[in-house]
Subunit: 616 residues, 2 copies
Amino acid sequence: MAEFTAIFLPGNSSVCVPEGTTLLAAAAAAGLLLQTPCGGQGRCGKCLARVEGGVDAPTSLERRVLGPDQLAQGWRLACQARVAGDVAVTVPESSLITEHRIMVEGVERELTVLPNITKVGLDLPAPSVEDPRADLNRVLDALSGHVRPPTRIASLRALPRVLRQSRFQITAVAADGELLALEPGDTSENAYGLAVDIGTTTVVAYLCHLPTGKSVAVASDLNSQAQYGDDVISRIRIASSGAEGLAALSGAVVTVINDLIERACHEAGVPEEAIYELSVVGNTCMSHLFLGVSPAGLGSLPFVQVFRSAQTVRAADLGIGVHPEALVYLVPNIGGFVGADTVGVILASELDRSDGLRVAVDIGTNGEIVVARQGELHAASTAAGPAFEGAKITQGMRAAHGAIESVHINDDVKCHVIGDVSPRGICGSGLVDAVAELVRVGIITETGRMLRRQEVTGLPEKVAERLVENERGVAFVLARPEESFGGEGVALTGRDVREMQLAKAAIYGGMELLLEELGAGPADIEQLLLAGAFGNYIRRESARAIGLIPALPAERIESIGNAAGVGARLVLCSTEERRRAEEIARRVRHVDLSERKGFYDRFADAMMLRPLPSLQ
Amino acid sequence: MAEFTAIFLPGNSSVCVPEGTTLLAAAAAAGLLLQTPCGGQGRCGKCLARVEGGVDAPTSLERRVLGPDQLAQGWRLACQARVAGDVAVTVPESSLITEHRIMVEGVERELTVLPNITKVGLDLPAPSVEDPRADLNRVLDALSGHVRPPTRIASLRALPRVLRQSRFQITAVAADGELLALEPGDTSENAYGLAVDIGTTTVVAYLCHLPTGKSVAVASDLNSQAQYGDDVISRIRIASSGAEGLAALSGAVVTVINDLIERACHEAGVPEEAIYELSVVGNTCMSHLFLGVSPAGLGSLPFVQVFRSAQTVRAADLGIGVHPEALVYLVPNIGGFVGADTVGVILASELDRSDGLRVAVDIGTNGEIVVARQGELHAASTAAGPAFEGAKITQGMRAAHGAIESVHINDDVKCHVIGDVSPRGICGSGLVDAVAELVRVGIITETGRMLRRQEVTGLPEKVAERLVENERGVAFVLARPEESFGGEGVALTGRDVREMQLAKAAIYGGMELLLEELGAGPADIEQLLLAGAFGNYIRRESARAIGLIPALPAERIESIGNAAGVGARLVLCSTEERRRAEEIARRVRHVDLSERKGFYDRFADAMMLRPLPSLQ
């Protein structure tokens, strides 16, 4: 059969289709979904398009719906007009499905809502001797050939009952162009999805109303995998020890997600069964554990993943308690430990569309860095994070009630504690602040050594007496025992400083190395994006003072919140963003820092606790 | 991106592909699978093709494998050469995968073996720092982009273990272009499929070796659904009574199939897990019950099916004990009760490619009729069969040991009994024989009445005394009590004759009506095909004498055995045949006989027990 090219304007997408294809089907093949409330039967007149070139003659239905003037101007019903030659088709915005635009918080990012899950209410004719079509054909015909039959036997089994119980007034649920389920009556507004960001430490879930793309509830909790180790390395070790370890870690995160689903649904008054899809981001290790796939290959060189591309699986197969036919879309990974969460950050911040030199740093338990310029993207991961989330720091803790989150030193030490309660530990931003202040007053040297009381001169007395020493070395008391929760005081040790120093050197050194791939240095960064909760809370002047981030002018630094989670919401609400995420995952070059010559030099240089790059 | 047309010769299939597509991928899109033992890496030289038109310049790999002469003649490696313009590609037979040709018994039918299930042995490079590809990418890359990632989580979970246990020497199992499973080592020859014909009364399973298409074992058994009623109508009633009835019928046929699998595998020495796919034919009701889908819509006008098109489901979801990832391909139905088995008959007999007027009659428990001429196909179903399978006949039985299968009347009655044992009943062919002989000697009138002894004259004494009478009417004793198994004798009653008369009238009348759709009559039939075991065993002269089949010259009548089962084997061993089956199901017009004016007139005329069409 002859094939012709159909070009769709204004987007300029083109497809090759066989003669006789409806413009509706051709548009779908080109990625454009047109409105068809009548089910593509030529009655509603919503799929208007203007054609130039090879189409067949208007049908009698079209002549009835469109006037002679409209027909003369080239207007046709896309569901009726068929390709008869090469053709150009202009599709007005009003003919396109779901043109809501939503604003996603955290980053300024608009998207056209076009979820993978679509629900269409159908009022079908009952079977008759004149129209004895099979039940499935009756449904699929009304969906105008957009949708393939269900591949799951349960949906087929339910079909005749649902159709007849509801007297053929049903709602078809489709995903990825496949019929997922049928529901009695018109339930098309009752469609929810869940965007999930699986962090090494924290899991966040956003419940979204799919037809509008609006977030209706957010829930978060600790990743209970933490009981098996704080960082990805220890979890990989346990998962690699055998099927039981893997099952335990996989089960832990599924349990957390099920709990978040229950809470978010309860808060929004939405039944769990109204969730038809989950979109999930996480680092590579989290992605593997979530699917129950062994991350053993990530445990040692050459850091091999089992899968890298996007995965679509059944929620039921993972034990997730939502609609029984619901899908899980796992955003693709980039490489090594740089996972889907980084794809989410790039998507949310549009780094893939940057002209100027832009850098994003996502400091969670892992630290991921992305540098971008003119569509060229490089990413790396550092095992930098735990220090900033409290791990490895003697009295470190997460940014929760009782955490010292900022520190000022004048004639004495003044700390701010989250929740305005007695302090019981120090969180990431407090740690950065404390170190920066202690460097400023001379208690910590630029090389990171915490001095003994007798080595420092000119300190105010109240500050000096906080410098203590015990069998484990020197420490600086931020909160005295009597001021603290539990009465043990809160102190920062010399070792804690070393831990932080290692973490920040990995991040800064890694960033320098990535920038070098673009022939640039830290000073050339036009915009530095700080993703993750940590990015929101650190005092930037402290971070700059100790060389955690480059000493850029303030206006070039921006916090973008949980950008990975925003990315998960974007792919949940838009198949366009999904395609873009997959494109990003393919395009970003993963750089394995430990394999790079020069990394350890840069790492050593970046250990210095002073503004970087050094002005030499 | 520019798109170009690639035409593949000698088949003349063409595809539209983006610039830069390899000829290998373009060929796959056109339905041609080329040999790539090296995994499409340009090393083995097996995917040779000769090109004219737009391709890029030969790669260095090609220059190494092919000589300058070959290159000058336009020979290229399809895995390396890329489309750069419209191009014509000639693919020699030696480059195509699995070019075995097999002969299928029953009908003379050749096919190119090209199963949906493909197994490819791969010897993959182990990961290294230079080549840290993800496991899944490593496998898919070696399959040259023919194959999509697995959609089932179990396959992904098994991936890293299988790869490493077998030191990256594995066999990839793919179906429908999707990666189904991986196995350690090279198991590519260990690939089996099962073709199943679910009859209302009998289930037959053919175990086939997929790489060669050869049948290695056959097993058959009664359809144990029969305990819930002999015919489809009673089974529909039970299945419609509630979920339990449906589950019982569905479970019954699955149990039978599992039993056949065990027997066939035992006979051939093949493990059940080596079966990767089942192809299944059956009438519409059997198809629905097999999938556990309610056939209630078939129970009354307008006889609505739940599904009509081909279905692919997981064997595990149906409880079938084969490879855990195995698929079930259910051949599409035509309409009403005319199901996948009739598609199988058409496929096996190539009725879809007939020029002359050809008719196929498949008499099982249902009787299906297909008429074909010049690609035009009409089909109908009659509830005719049970009489010929023993049901509704007082002493009817299946064609098993002890069944009277032929009857001759001279000065006495001579019966042949299957197995040469004492008779205990009468099967279909014996029934047709008995009626034909009794009509010939004047005991049964052309209108079907069995006369009383006193109404017949000139009978040999030994024949006359077999005409008996009791409270239920007249009967003709075929075997006296003392000759018979169990001592009750075997007799044919006047009512039995009426039952057979109804059945044969439905078949003959239905055939006449279908022929009329083509403007023809029974005398115009150029070839009459008798499918089903019954067609093999009836004496044709008897069938013609009583007007069960038209009185055509013997050379125009052919028995084709279990053609439905042959059809199931064809689609199991060839995706081409599968596409053709789907095309057939779309093309055949289903005629609902009961809805046709004129059917009852024809039915009444066809009741006459004499050669038909009547020579008037």
